[in-house]
């Protein structure tokens, strides 16, 4: 089937959907009594429910189902794929790295963003200072990783070349180390430290996001609360701890959970540096197992693990919002 034919088919499908929905809504508008209203509500909800069911629920359930089969999806193997994940030494490293990512990135990015937002709040250069930290947000993860690959680039400064010189240091950090007379360091190929150097990249990007959201909510703290606290003699660190942080709690939770979920799905950074030397994480390993190793069972099991790890974060988020709304 050629591309125009496919587009035509898509157009027909969309037109059919619109026609069907209009028919249902038209029909339900005929009923004016109480049950008619129910019918109307159901008719309005139907497209959303259908889309969620086919676009999210069905693939999710199918993924979980496939994770109980072998690599070609033919033989039932039960929980064997999950056993592999928690016993295979390479996959244990993947789990460990994911834990580092999920623990460190949200906390550090939020912490840095918060401190920065408080420090520049009301200063003369607030706009410029915020723009500087927010800029990395505009860079794609792949682009950012390539930039940092140059920062981490390694040339051994122990080597003496044929013309008596040392290799030129093209990596920013190693050039600094070389400058102060220290040996150069293989930032990207020395496990386990290389994972932390990759985490820095995501923090560099996400801190700006945290700073912008938190700065906005700091500015939204009612002036009278701060005034009252001042009259009671609260200032500095105490003000920050007892007034600022509790007041922006909802925003803090949103920022933390958003970054946590983004971190669980981190893939681009690891893929761009090659994913070797014990730097792999769940999302990258899932991709490798599915598209490179053609191991459908293990890949879907890894995807399910990511899914399971996201659930508590979402659950906590929803509960917090319920609480806030109940206030």
């Amino acid at each position: 089937m050629s591309t125009p034919e496919k587009f035509l088919q898509m157009g027909i499908a969309i037109a059919l959907f619109i026609a069907l929905m209009s028919a249902i809504l038209l029909l339900s508008s005929r009923f004016k009594n109480r049950s008619g209203e129910r019918l109307q509500a159901a008719a309005f909800l139907l497209p959303a429910v259908l889309l969620v069911a086919f676009g999210l629920l069905y693939p999710a359930l199918k993924t979980i189902y496939q994770s109980l089969f072998d690599s070609f999806g033919t033989n039932f193997v039960g929980t064997e794929n999950y056993q592999t994940i928690i016993t295979n030494p390479d996959l244990l490293v993947v789990l460990r790295n994911t834990l580092f990512w999920v623990l460190l990135t949200p906390l550090l990015a939020t912490f840095i963003g918060l401190i920065y937002a408080v420090l520049v709040d009301g200063s003369r250069f607030e706009k410029q200072a915020k723009a500087l930290v927010f800029l990395p947000m505009a860079i794609s993860l792949v682009g950012a990783t390539i930039i940092w690959k140059f920062v981490y680039a390694y040339r051994d400064n122990d080597v003496t070349l044929a013309d008596g010189s040392n290799p030129a240091q093209i990596g920013l950090l190693n050039a600094m180390l070389d400058g102060v007379g220290l040996p150069t360091f293989q930032f990207l190929t020395s496990p386990p430290w290389n994972t932390f150097f990759l985490i820095v990249i995501l923090i560099w990007i996400q801190a700006g996001f945290a700073m912008v959201i938190l700065s906005a909510s700091i500015k939204a703290i009612p002036e009278d609360i701060i005034e009252a606290a001042r009259l009671d003699g609260v200032s500095g660190v105490k003000m920050f701890r007892h007034i600022t942080v509790p007041s922006i709690r909802p925003a803090l939770i949103v920022v933390l959970t958003t970054i946590s979920i983004a971190t669980l799905k981190v893939f681009d950074i690891v893929q761009t540096v090659g994913g070797q030397f014990d730097t792999s994480v769940l999302a990258y390993e899932f991709y490798r197992q599915f598209f490179v190793a053609n191991n459908q069972g293990l890949a879907t099991a890894l995807a399910t693990v990511i899914f399971v790890l996201v659930i508590p974060i979402i659950f906590y988020n929803v509960r917090q919002f319920r609480r806030l709304e109940a206030r």
Binding site: M1, D70, S71, N75, D90, D156, T189, G275, F291, N294
Partner: protein
């Protein structure tokens, strides 16, 4: 898709009738039948078109080719098809993509397969044939391959006894790059055996220069360079038959013989006195990109690097090549290559290499005519003439070496056409992708950075897909 399937429907009954007659002739049909068009071929009466006139007048038809060969190499490819269009009247619609491997399977699954794909791995040929969308090669192609190519190439294009894909281009991986001037100044001889090469390495190391440089960093494909080293060593130590068994997993991946060959490689790559010239210690091999790895040869910081013939194109991007003085790749130039020496004296010259295979997804006459053209000596020589800067060679024995335009291509062609040459295709390209594009690469990378031979091979063996 539409063409293939609907025609299959239309001609199904006819085909059944015909095959019933044909089956009485031979038990196992190895190739596909030949489709021809009516009319007189435009190339009638021209000697170079003699193989193509049987397909009739193909004017107005088009062959869609999908390949991983992109600019600038694709220009020479397209230029070499002009004779085909003159002979048959059929046009070639050429499409190259960097994402060839993934795109091809997406298209084939989506019923949008090209007419012809140039597949660079025997493993992918098998995968594509398994989809049921491919068609066997026609008789003239089969005859050409029998006439012009070593037997092993035919086997790589054959799946379950049916011949599908003729070879196109080739490259030689069993090369060691060196600086002829550096060798001459110091009186070093090109080694003929592995032991001589080790002795030479020791001599160079004692003179204060690191004899070898290597780099295996290649993004997500980091490690493939070591797999080539190991495959070359196995071919030399254990012979081609063992190599085939190892590639097909008839012997375990971590067989003792494989471990011995890997240790042989380790004698160079993991020896701190031998590597890594111009870059650092053994571990710097892992973080040096394969593209940069050879450049210290130009500044006499290392003497040798084992890398395939296609590395010839890298020299033009060397740091010292700025200002238009690119290194000359020739026997009397700045850099050249020699054949990676043998480890035992049995008269064989094992050659590890790669190449592309022409796989067809349709059997229209113009597609079969194009397959026939590409498998002929005529095309190989056309292609050689269309590539003025060099960088292309084929295993086609009908290729006239005098037509090749660069010394390294001449060396590659001579290596491939050598009567004692025993050619074998890159092993990782034939293994299941879980190993060949997965654990084999990653474990070899870990092996460079300190993992033991036994552990690395055992983990690859464990990752081999069951069933």
């Amino acid at each position: 898709m539409r063409s293939a399937r609907s025609r299959r429907g239309l001609t199904g009954i006819a085909a059944l009738a015909v095959s019933a007659i044909a089956l009485t002739g031979c038990a196992s049909e190895e190739t596909g039948g030949t489709q021809t068009a009516s009319g007189t071929s435009p190339g009638e009466g021209r000697a170079e078109c003699s193989q193509l006139t049987q397909f009739g007048d193909l004017t107005g038809t088009e062959v869609r080719v999908f390949t991983s060969i992109v600019q600038p190499e694709s220009d020479a490819q397209q230029a070499s098809y002009e004779l085909f269009t003159e002979c048959t009247g059929a046009e070639v619609a050429y499409e190259g993509s960097q994402e060839f491997e993934t795109q091809l399977s997406v298209r084939v699954r989506g019923g949008n397969a090209p007419d012809i794909a140039y597949v660079p791995q025997p493993g992918l040929v098998n995968t594509m044939v398994a989809t049921g969308q491919t068609v066997p090669a026609p008789q003239p192609v089969s005859d050409n391959v029998d006439e012009f190519f070593p037997e092993i190439w035919r086997e790589y294009g054959t799946v379950d006894g049916t011949f599908y894909a003729a070879p196109l281009g080739a490259n030689v991986k069993s090369f060691v790059w060196y600086s002829p001037s550096f060798f001459e100044e110091n009186g070093y001889e090109i080694p003929e055996t592995w032991d001589e090469m080790t002795a030479l390495s020791e001599e160079i190391a004692q003179s204060g220069t690191k004899p070898w440089c290597a780099g295996i960093e290649s993004g997500t494909a980091t490690g493939w360079t070591v797999t080539d080293w190991l495959e070359d060593a196995i071919l030399r130590d254990q012979g081609a038959d063992f190599y085939d068994q190892w590639v097909n997993h008839e012997v375990p991946f971590d067989d003792q013989a494989v471990a011995d060959s890997l240790d042989r490689v380790g004698g160079i790559l993991k020896n701190g006195d031998f590597v890594n010239g111009g870059f650092g210690d053994v571990r710097s091999i892992a973080s040096t990109s394969f593209q940069d790895a050879g450049y210290p040869i130009l500044s006499d910081n290392c003497a040798m690097m084992r890398q395939a013939s296609f590395y010839a194109a890298q020299w033009a991007s060397a740091p010292s090549a700025e200002g238009g003085n690119a290194p000359v790749v020739a026997e009397d130039g700045d850099v050249f290559a020699f054949y990676l020496p043998v480890t035992q004296d049995n008269g064989e010259r094992p050659v590890l290499g790669g190449g592309e295979f022409v796989l067809a997804f349709d059997d229209r006459p113009e597609v079969q005519a194009f397959q026939t053209y590409l498998s002929s000596d005529i095309w190989a020589n056309e292609k050689a003439e269309a590539t003025p800067d060099g960088g292309w060679v084929s295993a086609n024995t009908g290729l006239d070496i005098n037509l090749l335009n660069s010394p390294i291509d001449v060396l590659s062609a001579e290596t491939l056409q050598d009567p004692n040459a025993v050619f074998r295709f890159d092993g990782s390209d034939q293994m299941p992708s879980a190993v060949g594009a997965g654990s084999f690469w990653t474990q070899m990378t870990d092996w460079i950075t300190g993992k033991s031979t036994g552990d690395a091979l055992t983990q690859i063996e464990e990752s081999w897909p069951t069933s």
